[in-house]
Symmetry: C2
Subunit: 153 residues, 2 copies
């Protein structure tokens, strides 16, 4: 099994990390990383595992689990602890920070950025002498489609 990587650019940070830490790159790990970074979604471990399984049924849950943690360690993935009781992982775009609108009905996730909100957050923190390291802002509710569906019934 020899994996053809879709986009070598995305893997750059991984290879840097790998060299520094004396890791070895198995074909399975390579496949998972490549798939995860190119899909660019908010995967739970379970979800990613099941999708990958359809393509390559030789990859175990353990390996998917460990690869997501590895990507988190080398800064290519980020954990999202939404109010679902399980962790999701999303690729860290080289680009920038964003927050989320999450549909309680269909699970759709919309990303947004709002520098005004971020500014106000920092302002609040300063008022309390608090040093902000990270933050979570999630708006839960119904996406446009689910609102329409609800009105119909």
């Amino acid at each position: 099994m020899k994996v053809k990587v879709k986009n070598k650019m995305l893997l750059k940070d991984y290879f840097t990390y790998k060299s520094k830490r004396g890791l070895k790159t198995s074909q399975k790990r390579l496949f998972i990383i490549d798939y995860f970074l190119n899909e660019d979604r908010h995967f739970s471990i379970e979800e990613l595992y099941h999708e990958i399984r359809k393509i390559n049924s030789q990859i175990s849950f353990s390996t998917v689990y460990r690869t997501l943690r590895l990507l988190t360690d080398c800064g290519l993935a980020q954990e999202c602890c939404f109010a679902e009781g399980m962790v999701r992982y999303e690729p860290v775009h080289k680009a920038r920070h964003h927050d989320h609108l999450i549909c309680r009905k269909c699970g759709r996730i919309i990303e947004f950025e709002n520098s005004e909100i971020e500014k106000l957050q920092n302002h609040v923190a300063k008022k309390f002498g608090f040093l902000v390291v990270s933050h979570a802002l999630e708006l839960y509710g119904l996406c446009t489609m689910c609102q329409k569906k609800q009105r119909r019934s």
Copy 2:
């Protein structure tokens, strides 16, 4: 065991709910509710259980657990899913909504309100045609005290 309630006012909503649903009020439940509402903190089930256990060692984990869910059902408590991997419960002040600053070092929780941020949140939601039902905003970092401690070492 006969519980002396510290503040009957706080229990009003519970008694309304109780009557509507044909519940019975055990002394243990009464003690837990009274303690929780008067302490007015952000308890994990485990924490509340251990504190209560020091005062009344005849109360089980199950009962604390079930009482917190009951309070959530009757609108007297709210679940807080901070990024710790466990749920906390806080009394719902008759007053108003607020968000949280959370110290990653000592666990201290500071509450704040900022209507400007809330307005901007609604503005963002509207832009995406999204109907917001609830939201979570938490700022994680270091409180003043923990920053000082860190500088000293």
